[in-house]
């Protein structure tokens, strides 16, 4: 039985702009099974539908059509059981200003009907570096500390399926390390982890399997290693001082002065360098590196440009 199963799930919202009665399709017949014990990554640009998927999974939103289940429990029909299995770390940095850290965790534990949970709460506080903040009011905590509390709140009922919606957005390096060590440990002990993130190197390092989402559709779904293999294996990277001709620029990924071309073999690399020379430019700091998940991601996203985005570009 899959830990999480999406079966042809669509979600449409009333369109905020556009004419009356028109709808915006946030998810378009998404099907996806995440097996028990997986560390699964859900990637996609802003507005791709990642948070919508997680909201439907967590019961914060309802699918317009299709079915979502958690360990076989339908998230609508059998919502209480489904929510007991899920531990969700929301994306927004929210907190209840009336209470301190330990109280917030005790309440959350109580809502799930878990009694005498202080030993686990202490362990969570310890693992997330919150022990000395246990008595502090939520208002007094820094953003990073609040994020840790969100993680602890999601895990307080020992959920077998953990969902993290961009947990490291705007978080310092130290916390990212602590957090991932802890989540990886839980995953090794058998928890299923579903992660959405903007940091592709994190997904590459942690996730065994990855789905890429664009405009409400899954455009790539494979193991991380297969996705990396399928991409052009090398990247030619150099710096130039002035602008590339349009024909070249269209094939490149450009970040300021840094230019990167996906390349399969030495011939292709030579051709790119020759074209740069012909354009009267000089390439500095030339290097060839292995493709990473970011290259795969950009490749997939470009291949799946929708007509409206083509026009806008």
């Amino acid at each position: 039985m899959p830990a999480i199963s999406f079966q042809s799930v669509s979600k449409s919202y009333p369109s905020p702009r556009g004419p009356q009665g028109s709808t915006f399709l946030a998810l378009d017949r998404v099907s996806l099974d995440i097996e028990q014990g997986e560390f699964f990554g859900l990637l996609g640009p802003n507005g791709a539908g990642k948070t919508t998927m997680i909201s439907i999974l967590a019961g914060l939103a309802r699918a317009t059509s299709g079915k979502v289940s958690v360990l076989g429990h339908d998230v609508q029909v059998d919502y209480a059981q489904a929510r007991r299995i899920l531990g969700v770390v929301p994306q927004e940095l929210v907190f209840d200003p009336f209470f301190n850290v330990r109280e917030a965790l005790r309440f959350q534990s109580g809502y799930f009907g878990v009694k005498n949970n202080d030993a686990w709460i202490d362990e969570l506080l310890e693992s997330l570096g919150l022990t000395d903040k246990a008595g502090a009011n939520m208002r007094q905590l820094s953003g990073g500390m609040k994020r840790r509390v969100l993680v602890a709140q999601a895990l307080v009922h020992k959920p077998p399926v953990i969902v993290l919606d961009e947990p490291t957005a705007g978080v310092d390096v130290e916390l990212r390390q602590t957090l991932w060590q802890f989540i990886a440990k839980l995953n090794k002990q058998g928890s299923t982890v579903l992660l959405t993130t903007h940091y592709l190197e994190e997904a590459e390092a942690l996730c065994g399997r990855i789905a890429m989402l664009k405009s409400g559709r899954i455009v790539a779904l494979d193991s991380t290693s297969e996705l990396l293999k399928a991409a052009s294996s090398n990247v030619l990277r150099f710096k130039v001082d002035s602008e590339l001709p349009k024909l070249l620029a269209d094939k490149a990924r450009i970040t300021g002065r840094i230019v990167q071309f996906p390349a399969h073999d030495a011939l292709e690399i030579e051709q790119y360098l020759a074209a740069v020379r012909e354009a009267g430019l000089v390439a500095h700091d030339v290097e060839i590196r292995k493709a990473d998940l970011e290259d795969v991601f950009l490749g997939v996203m470009n291949k799946n440009k929708t007509p409206s985005q083509e026009r806008a570009a």
Binding site: R84, V94, F95, F107, G110, Y111, G113, K115
Partner: protein, 251 residues
């Protein structure tokens, strides 16, 4: 403690932590009304024989404070959680819509009763109080608080901003409580306004409650009980329905 008990406990703790504002403040306000109106009108207004105006005023003021605070508790808790975004912690839990209803309304009833008792206890220092029928007092206090806590729950779900909630409070709750006969017997009103008052459910809450103290009232306590009881049933059904469909809290 089961899930709904924890939520009830949290909701009670939420107002108790700021009791200076949520309990002491309303009690002080009611005392100012009692002192000023009592002083100004004691010798001019006689509602029932053998009962001084100040004594007449006490149950009405206690009930008015109880009703307003029951409403304030559930409505402000919900709107704050919505605006702050921390309602998500509840939305993620297996708590059922009935659990939500019981916990939010339960906490509102407790806050209402605490404030009502506070008003009563402090007024007892200034004037004579009597309890002719304590069961009637308790029945109207609990039902009135539940009715207003439920209305507050609906208003809190509906409102998206604090000013919408304030409008509801200032333009609906305040006028209806003030015009319900807290400060006067509706028998002293011209016939037209007597009729209008009979359409105000708040009037029955206050009149029935007062019956418990004096054994006298403008209408029969049984009539008041049935009006308050059926109003409570109707607003509860609406609130439970809104919670069940996740009105404005689940998209």
């Amino acid at each position: 403690m089961t899930g709904w008990q924890m939520l009830l406990y949290k909701e009670v703790l939420r107002f108790w932590r700021v009791a200076f504002q949520t309990v002491a403040g309303p009690v002080l306000t009611a005392m100012l009304y009692l002192l000023i109106f009592g002083h100004a009108l004691e010798s001019h207004v006689k509602v029932y024989d053998q009962i001084s105006y100040t004594s007449f005023l006490v149950p009405g003021l206690a009930m008015m404070s109880l009703l307003q605070n029951a409403f304030a508790n559930s409505s402000s808790s919900l709107i704050m959680s919505k605006v702050m975004g921390n309602l998500v912690f509840l939305l993620l839990t297996p708590l059922s819509y009935m659990n939500w209803f019981v916990a939010y309304v339960g906490a509102a009833v407790i806050r209402g009763l605490v404030v009502g008792l506070g008003v009563f206890a402090v007024s007892a220092l200034f004037t004579d109080v009597s309890f002719v029928a304590p069961l009637w007092i308790l029945a109207f206090a609990v039902m009135g608080a539940a009715l207003m806590g439920t209305l507050g729950l609906i208003a809190g779900l509906w409102a998206e901003k604090f000013d919408q909630l304030a409008a509801f409070q200032n333009f609906v709750v305040m006028p209806m409580t003030f015009l319900s006969g807290v400060f006067y017997s509706i028998h002293s009103l011209p016939p037209v306004w007597q009729t209008v008052s009979h359409l105000n459910p708040f009037f029955y809450m206050i009149d029935g409650f007062r019956y418990g103290f004096f054994g006298q009232s403008d209408v029969s306590p049984w009539l008041s009980l049935s009006v308050v009881g059926s109003s409570l049933a109707i607003v509860s059904a609406v609130a439970v329905y809104l919670l069940r469909i996740g009105y404005k809290i689940r998209s």
